[in-house]
C-alpha cells in the first residue's frame, strides 16, 4: 500500500500470478510424470523377476516346488542396491517359501488373468514397491495356481524420479524465465504510448489550447479525443471571456470618453451656468457608469464557478414586495404603473435574498427602460415562480436566447448596459432556477419567469 499504485505493477501482477500458478501446476505434473515413468521402468524389473521365478516353479513331491534363481533377485537389486523380497504363495494363499510375507493381489480371481499387479506396500517400516504375478503350472495333469510376489525398496525409483524431475524442472525453469522476460517487454511496450502521451502533454506550450495530434492506440485515442473536446470547450470559454472583457472595456470607455469631452467643452466656457449644466450631465453619466461597473462586478461574481453562495430559506412574497417597494419611487416618477400580485400563503424556497431582489430590480428596470407603462410582479406557489410581466414592446422569440448574453441589447438602444438579463440569468443559475422569456399574457410585452425547484420537504415544514 505504501508504493503508489502503478499500471505496470498491476499488469505484471495479474499476468505473473496465473503464470506462476501454471508453473507450479506444471512442476507438480512433472513430478507425477517422472514418478510414473520411473515406476514404469522399474516395474519392468518386478515383472521380469517374477517371471524368472515363476518359470522355476514346479510340481514335485505332491507340492509346489521352487528352485529359486539367484539372478531373479540380483535383477531386483538394481544399481541402487535395493533391499529385495520375494515370496511364493499357493492358490489358497498359503505361504510356500520366501524371505518376507508380502501382501497378495486384492483383485478377484476372474479379473486378474495374467496381468501383473503392482502396489506400494509397507513392510516392517520399509516402503516397498511390489509386483504380484498370479499364474498356474503349465502341466497336463497338474494346473495348480500360485502367486509369485516380489518387492524391492524405492531408492532407485526415487533417484530416477528425481533425475527426470530435475531435467523437467530445468526445462520449465527456462520456459518461466523466457515467459517472464517476454511479459516484461510486452507490458513495457504496451504502456509506451502512455509515456508518449504524457511527454506530448508536458512538452506543450502552457498557453496553447490547440488539439493534441499524435497517433495512439485505440484506448488512448479515446482519451486523446476527450482531452481535445475539453480543450475545445476551454477555447470557447476563453473566447467568451475575451469578448466579455472587450465589450466591458468598450462600454466603460464610451461614458468615460463622454465625460472627458463634456468636461473639456465646459472648461472652454466661462459661464458658470454652462459649467453647472455640464456638471449635472457629467453626474448623470458617471452615475450610470458606476451602475455599469456594479453590474459588471456582480456579473463577474455570479459567473465565478468557485463561489458557493449559501442558500437560506426565504419567502418569495417578501422578495417581490421588497423589490416593488424599492422600484416604486422611480416608477412613480417615470409614470409607470407597477403592481405586485403575491400568494396568500408564504412560498418558501432556498435562495439568497439580495440576489433575487437584484434580479427583480433588473427586470423592472429593464421593462421601464424599454418603454413599458405597466409592470406586474407576480408570485406563483406551485411550482414556485417569480414572474415579471410588462406591456412593453417584448422581444421576438428568435432573439430571446441572444438577449441573455452580456452586452446584447434589443434593436433600439436605450441607455441600458445590456447586462441586466445576463445578470438575471446568472442569478437563476445560482438558484438552479429556469429562466423563461415568453410573450405577455394579454397584450404585447414580455413575461419573464423564474421557476425555482421545489424546496426539499423538510424545509417546507420549517
Amino acid at each position: 500500500m505504501k508504493a503508489p499504485d502503478s499500471l505496470f505493477r498491476r499488469l505484471l501482477l495479474w499476468l505473473l500470478l496465473p503464470l506462476l500458478a501454471l508453473g507450479a501446476l506444471m512442476l507438480v505434473q512433472a513430478y507425477l510424470d517422472a514418478r510414473r515413468t520411473a515406476d514404469r521402468a522399474f516395474d519392468r524389473l518386478l515383472e521380469a523377476s517374477s517371471q524368472a521365478i515363476a518359470e522355476q516353479v514346479q510340481w514335485q513331491d505332491e507340492r509346489l516346488w521352487l528352485d529359486l534363481p539367484p539372478a531373479a533377485l540380483e535383477m531386483l537389486a538394481t544399481d541402487a542396491e535395493e533391499r529385495v523380497f520375494y515370496a511364493l504363495y499357493d492358490d489358497d494363499g498359503e505361504f510356500i517359501t520366501g524371505n518376507a510375507r508380502l501382501p497378495g493381489d486384492p483383485r478377484s480371481d476372474d479379473i486378474s488373468g495374467e496381468a501383473m499387479y503392482y502396489d506400494d506396500v509397507q513392510w516392517q517400516d520399509l516402503a516397498l514397491r511390489q509386483g504380484v504375478r498370479r499364474t498356474r503350472l503349465e502341466d497336463w495333469r497338474q494346473r495348480e495356481g500360485f502367486e509369485v510376489r516380489v518387492a524391492h525398496t524405492r531408492e532407485g525409483r526415487e533417484r530416477l524420479t528425481w533425475r527426470l524431475f530435475l531435467g523437467n524442472m530445468a526445462y520449465i525453469g527456462a520456459m518461466a524465465v523466457l515467459a517472464i522476460a517476454v511479459l516484461l517487454l510486452a507490458v513495457r511496450s504496451a504502456l509506451r504510448p502512455l509515456t508518449r502521451l504524457r511527454r506530448a502533454i508536458r512538452r506543450r506550450d502552457p498557453r496553447t489550447l490547440a488539439p493534441l495530434e499524435l497517433p495512439l492506440p485505440r484506448e488512448l485515442a479515446e482519451l486523446r479525443e476527450t482531452l481535445n473536446e475539453l480543450l475545445a470547450r476551454m477555447r470557447r470559454v476563453r473566447a467568451n471571456q475575451e469578448r466579455f472583457i472587450g465589450d466591458a472595456s468598450h462600454q466603460l470607455r464610451t461614458p468615460l470618453a463622454g465625460l472627458s469631452a463634456r468636461a473639456e467643452l465646459a472648461l472652454r466656457q466661462d459661464n458658470p451656468e454652462v459649467w453647472r449644466a455640464a456638471l449635472q450631465a457629467m453626474q448623470t453619466t458617471s452615475a450610470s457608469t458606476a451602475r455599469l461597473a456594479v453590474q459588471l462586478l456582480s456579473l463577474t461574481r455570479l459567473n465565478n464557478p468557485e463561489a458557493t453562495p449559501e442558500l437560506s430559506a426565504l419567502d418569495l412574497n417578501d422578495i417581490a414586495r421588497q423589490a416593488v417597494r424599492n422600484a416604486w419611487n422611480r416608477c412613480h416618477r417615470d409614470g409607470i404603473d407597477i403592481g405586485v400580485d403575491v400568494c396568500d400563503s408564504p412560498v418558501t424556497i432556498d435562495g439568497i435574498d439580495w440576489q433575487l431582489e437584484e434580479a427583480l430590480s433588473n427586470l423592472i428596470d429593464n421593462a421601464g427602460r424599454y418603454g413599458a407603462t405597466h409592470i406586474t410582479v407576480r408570485v406563483n406557489a406551485t411550482p414556485p415562480e417569480l414572474v415579471v410581466e410588462d406591456n412593453g414592446p417584448g422581444i421576438p422569440a428568435e432573439q430571446r436566447l441572444l438577449v441573455l448574453r452580456p452586452f446584447h441589447r434589443g434593436e433600439e438602444s436605450g441607455d441600458g448596459s445590456g447586462l441586466g438579463l445576463a445578470i438575471v440569468d446568472g442569478i437563476a443559475r445560482t438558484h438552479g432556477a429556469r429562466l423563461r422569456l415568453d410573450d405577455a399574457r394579454h397584450e404585447s410585452g414580455l413575461c419573464v419567469t423564474l421557476r425555482f425547484p421545489a424546496p426539499t420537504p423538510t424545509e417546507t415544514k420549517q
Binding site: W65, L66, P70, E74, R83, D125
Partner: protein
C-alpha cells in the same frame, strides 16, 4: 508368523557348528583416563568369530579408546542370528562368517547406515549399501597330511584332487574329510556356491562318496583328525582357522586351490536399534580403517581387505599370488537364494544323490 519358527527350526539343529565351550566371551572394562567429565561409554559386540581370533583386534581398539566398556560374546552363526532376532536392542555391532544370514538381516532393514570417510573409501565389492561391510578375507582351503605327499603327488587344485580320488580309491577309503552340508551352515554355503561355480563339482562329490569321505560339522574337527593322521586330505576348510592350526602342526600343509578358491568374508553391521550407536560407529570406523585392518592382517589370520595394505595376510597379497582363482562370495541378493528352504532341500537331496551315486551304481 506360524511358519517362521518352522523355517528356523529347520536350521536349529545345525547350532553346534562353531559352538565353543566357556571362553565364549570377552570383556574389556573401561579404564580411568586423564580425560575427565567423559560419560562412561559402552560397546556390545556379538559375533560368530572365535575369541582368540578376534581378541587382538578388540584389544587394539580398546587401547585406543580405553574409556569404552567393551563386551564381546561369541555365538555359533545360527544362534547369533536367533539371538539378534529375539532382541535387536541389546547389540551394537554384529559380525559373523555366515554371509547369507548377515545379508538377510541387513536386507530386512536391521542395519544402520554408516557414512564416514572410512565407509566411503571401502571397496565396492566388499560392501552392500552403507550398511554391510565385509572386513575379512578368508579363502576356503584344502589341508593334507605329509603322509599323502610321501605316497602320492602334490595336489594344487580341484583337478588334482579329483584325479587323486579317482585313481587312489582304495588307498583313500575313509581317509578324506569334508563338511557335511546338511549339518553345517558353512558347508552348505560352500556347497551351493561351488555348485554354481564349477560344473564338475558334482563329480567331486561323487568321488567323495566313492572313497567314503567322512562328513563332519566343523573345521576344527577336520583339523584335529588331520593332525592325528586319521585323515590324509581335508576339503573346504576355513583358511583362517587352518593357517593358525598348521603353524603348530608342521605335518599339515594348507593348499589354496589355484584353479578356483572360494573366499569367505565376514560382514559386519551396526544394529539399527543399537543402544550405543556412537561407540558402534567408532568401532566400525576402526575396523574399516588402515590401522584396524593392519591388526587383522598382522596379528590374526583373518585377512585384511583394506586396499592400502598389501603385506602378508591381506587380500591384495592373495590376489597377487592367485589372481582370478579367488572367488569371494558376492555380497548380494543372491545370498538370499541360498537361504531359501526349498532351495536348500533341493541342493541337499542332489548332494546326497551324487554322494551315493557310485555306490548305487555298484549295487
Amino acid at each position: 508368523m506360524r511358519v517362521f519358527p518352522i523355517v528356523l527350526s529347520g536350521w536349529l539343529w545345525l547350532l553346534p557348528i562353531v559352538a565353543m565351550a566357556d571362553d565364549d566371551s570377552l570383556h574389556f572394562p573401561a579404564r580411568e583416563t586423564d580425560r575427565e567429565n567423559t560419560e562412561p561409554r559402552e560397546l556390545i559386540i556379538r559375533g560368530a568369530l572365535d575369541v582368540p581370533q578376534f581378541e587382538p583386534v578388540l584389544e587394539d581398539f580398546h587401547q585406543r579408546y580405553p574409556d569404552i566398556d567393551l563386551h564381546y560374546r561369541n555365538f555359533s552363526t545360527l544362534a547369533l542370528h536367533q539371538h539378534f532376532l529375539d532382541d535387536d536392542t541389546g547389540t551394537d555391532v554384529v559380525i559373523s562368517s555366515a554371509m547369507p544370514w548377515q545379508y538377510r538381516l541387513a536386507n530386512d532393514g536391521h542395519g544402520r547406515a554408516l557414512d564416514s570417510p572410512e565407509a566411503m573409501a571401502w571397496p565396492d565389492w566388499a560392501r552392500w549399501r552403507d550398511e554391510l561391510f565385509a572386513v575379512t578375507f578368508e579363502p576356503i582351503v584344502m589341508v593334507y597330511h605329509e603322509t599323502l605327499t610321501q605316497r602320492f603327488d602334490h595336489i594344487e587344485n580341484h583337478d588334482d584332487l579329483l584325479s587323486l580320488l579317482e585313481d587312489e580309491r582304495e588307498a583313500l577309503q575313509g581317509r578324506v574329510v569334508t563338511y557335511d552340508p546338511a549339518r553345517s551352515g558353512a558347508g552348505y554355503t560352500y556347497a551351493i556356491e561351488e555348485s554354481q561355480l564349477s560344473p564338475r563339482y558334482w563329480e567331486l562329490i561323487a568321488a567323495f562318496g566313492d572313497v567314503n569321505a567322512d562328513l563332519v560339522g566343523t573345521t576344527g574337527e577336520m583339523l584335529e583328525g588331520l593332525a592325528d593322521g586319521e585323515y590324509l586330505i581335508g576339503y573346504n576348510l576355513l583358511g583362517s582357522y587352518a593357517r593358525d592350526f598348521v603353524r603348530d602342526h608342521p605335518q599339515l600343509t594348507v593348499v589354496i586351490p589355484d584353479d578356483y578358491a572360494l573366499v569367505v568374508q565376514r560382514p559386519v553391521f551396526m544394529a539399527k536399534h543399537a543402544p550405543n550407536p556412537r561407540t558402534a560407529e567408532l568401532f566400525l570406523n576402526y575396523l574399516l580403517s588402515e590401522a584396524g585392518q593392519r591388526v587383522l592382517a598382522e596379528r590374526t589370520s583373518l585377512g585384511a581387505v583394506h586396499p592400502a595394505l598389501d603385506g602378508d595376510g591381506t587380500a591384495s597379497a592373495l590376489r597377487k599370488r592367485l589372481g582370478d582363482a579367488l572367488r569371494p562370495i558376492r555380497l548380494g541378493p543372491g545370498l538370499l537364494a541360498t537361504l531359501d528352504d526349498l532351495k536348500r532341500e533341493a541342493l541337499l537331496s542332489r548332494w546326497n544323490r551324487e554322494y551315493q551315486r557310485q555306490r548305487n551304481d555298484e549295487d
